[in-house]
């Protein structure tokens, strides 16, 4: 008996006991579907994180952020001036290997207005380095220039979504004037569109809602905050991360007279946090998978044992007319495998359906990937084989004389 006729034989047996087979297939199907879903969630998590990690500049980015001083040291906080442009200048001076040092102030809320249309933006006052430090590229026009800073020029570079919301399609954007808190700004550049879709949710959507004006213009003409929102540093390679982080911290302690009113944040911490989250997910997913494996396996084994019990005469006949124990073993193993595979096909279909459904709703989107489908199928084959071995072995050991006499 070859493999295909074995599968055909298995399908006939499954069809011959519809209710019983359906219940077993249901177990396998749910097991496989849950596995595909959990795997999809892990993939979605990973891909989303990777995309947002890249959007945030990857491991080559370091951020200096202001931080509240500890309560017991608060009386000392006035001797430090906080995170300022001076910090940025000193960092650039003492760590020349840092590619770009970008002091930034976020204006919040920031609403841009153009001919009666308004649009909220993630608006930053920044130096020309901001684009390199934060991985922005220009679609058209120019970025910010040193001269803009020197002249407190009223120019703005806007993200793709801001441009498409404020302006009509096809309308030229460069050279138009938008208003920010009553101050007119000339649009000199439009940024590229960033897209990393999961379902219809764009992970990088925030980037497209960004807008940048010269830091000096923001400080002199819109508002005058004493402190920076952050300083973004871009280092040449992740290998230097630890060393540069330490040096930057030392420089800042010096400048802040030992007051810890700043924080040097790298993406390494978020990588570590992510990895532990992922480990948790994989473990939880593995536990779900193991339990599903067990339940489906028990279902298949139960069905196979019942089937063999009913078919003792068939086994006896097959052995009497010349089947080897091995032939019977393979026959029943293939039947169990067929059950597993069939459950796998339905389970993968259900899992895909579930993923599609969940992509439309919720914050936490699973991702359909080849690996989750592969894992689902591998699982169903494995469970079919594992659960089939013992019943098939039992069948193969039947003595034809006893089996034929059996009633």
């Amino acid at each position: 008996m070859n493999f295909l006729s074995g599968i055909r034989n298995g399908l006939q047996e499954i069809w011959g006991h519809k209710l019983r087979s359906f219940l077993t297939l249901f177990c396998v199907m749910l097991g496989v579907a849950s596995l595909v879903l959990v795997n999809g969630f892990i993939d979605g998590l990973f891909r989303g994180w990777l995309a947002s990690m890249n959007a945030r500049g990857g491991l080559e980015r370091i951020q200096v952020l202001p931080k509240a001083v500890k309560k017991e040291l608060r009386h000392l906080s006035s001797i430090s001036s906080g995170v300022t442009e001076l910090d940025a200048e000193r960092i650039a001076e003492f760590c020349p290997e840092i590619q770009s040092v970008s002091p930034e102030i976020k204006l919040d809320p920031a609403t841009l207005r153009y001919r009666g249309k308004t649009e909220r933006a993630n608006l930053y006052g920044a130096l020309p380095e901001v684009f390199v430090a934060n991985r922005f590229d220009l679609e058209s026009g120019r970025g910010l220039a040193d001269l803009d800073q020197a002249q407190n020029a009223q120019v703005i570079v806007i993200g793709e979504e801001i441009a498409s919301k404020l302006f009509d399609p096809g309308e030229p954007v460069l050279g138009k004037t938008v208003e920010l808190r009553g101050v007119p700004f000339l649009v000199v550049g439009v940024l590229e569109k960033y897209e990393e879709l999961i379902g219809d949710y764009n992970l990088l959507g925030e980037k497209n809602r960004s807008a940048f004006v010269p830091l000096s213009t923001l400080q002199t003409k819109v508002q005058r905050p004493p402190q920076l929102t952050r300083i973004t540093l871009r280092i040449p390679s992740p290998d230097q991360l630890a060393e540069i982080t330490e040096r930057v911290t030392n420089i800042l302690f010096q400048l802040h007279r030992g007051v810890e009113d700043f924080e040097v944040r790298t993406n390494e911490e978020s990588l570590a946090a992510f990895q532990s989250t992922k480990r948790g997910f994989v473990l939880a997913g593995g536990a779900v998978g193991a339990i599903s494996l067990l339940v489906s396996g028990i279902g298949i084994m139960n069905l196979m044992l019942a089937s063999i019990h009913e078919r003792v005469r068939e086994i006896g006949l097959r052995k009497a007319i010349g089947a080897w124990g091995r032939d019977i073993f393979v026959q029943f193993l293939v039947e169990a495998l067929t059950l597993g595979l069939l459950g796998g096909v339905f389970g993968v279909a259900l899992g895909i359906g579930g993923i599609e459904l969940l992509q439309g709703i919720g914050e936490f989107r699973p991702q359909l990937s080849v690996s989750s489908v592969g894992v689902g199928f591998a699982f169903s084959v494995l469970v079919g084989l594992a659960a089939g071995v013992y019943p098939a072995f039992k069948a193969s050991r039947l003595d034809p004389i006893d089996a034929l006499r059996y009633d």
């Binding site: 008996m1 011959g16 006896g316 006949l317 009497a320 032939d327 004389i401």
Partner: protein, 228 residues
């Protein structure tokens, strides 16, 4: 008869089972020759040892002592897989309860033994149809067994036993589950097959069934008590 070797040659064959501290002698010192082309009935009440004798003739079991030659080869001491191969290639089985596989069509039932021949088989389907033709059921090839009467099912089983052109057809109470008229027609079919040269061994407890054979071997208490 030619002086060629008999198809089956048993000398001093024993089948003893240990049961607790005693030994049950299911067959004790049996010698029997069956020549090609014979139609032999093995007769005896239940517990006489005729089933054990049939198991040995059909290679379903091995003796605990004595010599058996089949088709010129010594076969008393061969392993389970060799016995399975001989069953597949040289023995055709017909059982009391037909033992057709309910989910397979008549044609595919007849073809089941072909899958256990361990070499390439040519034109199997054609031969299966010919075997069905031989038992008069070619037009039922695509029916399922439960669409047939008892006598028809046994005919399918006979066609199945013929598919591999066996040297010996072994029928164990083939009419036990049939009414007497149907039984008669099945026995007539065996007579016809024998007339065409098939060697047939019929195992039965019923003297009326045994009367169709040309030779009757009577078994009692594990021994052959008459052979005529």
């Amino acid at each position: 008869m030619t002086d060629a070797l008999p198809l089956v040659c048993m000398r001093g064959v024993k089948k003893h089972y240990p049961v607790g501290s005693t030994v049950v002698k299911a067959l004790d010192d049996v010698s029997l020759d069956i020549r090609a082309g014979e139609f032999v009935a093995i007769v005896g009440p239940s517990g006489s040892g005729k089933s054990t004798l049939m198991h040995l003739l059909g290679f379903l079991d091995s003796p605990t002592g004595g010599e058996i030659h089949f088709d010129g080869e010594p076969v008393a001491q061969i392993g389970a897989n060799r016995r399975a191969m001989i069953r597949a290639e040289k023995i055709g089985f017909v059982f009391q309860s037909f033992n057709l596989l309910p989910r397979l069509s008549v044609l595919r039932n007849v073809l089941v033994p072909v899958s256990y021949i361990r070499r390439r088989v040519e034109r199997a389907e054609e031969r299966a149809l010919a075997a069905l033709d031989r038992v008069g059921l070619r037009d039922r090839a695509h029916h399922l067994p439960n669409q047939l009467s008892g006598g028809q099912r046994q005919r399918v089983a006979i066609a199945r036993s013929l598919i591999n052109e066996p040297r010996l057809v072994l029928a164990d109470e083939p009419t036990g589950n049939l009414d007497s008229r149907t039984a008669e027609s099945i026995l007539t079919l065996f007579e016809e097959l024998n007339a065409q040269g098939r060697t047939i061994v019929l195992v039965t407890h019923d003297p009326n069934v045994a009367a169709h054979a040309r030779r009757r071997v009577r078994v009692h208490d594990g021994k052959i008590v008459s052979d005529s």
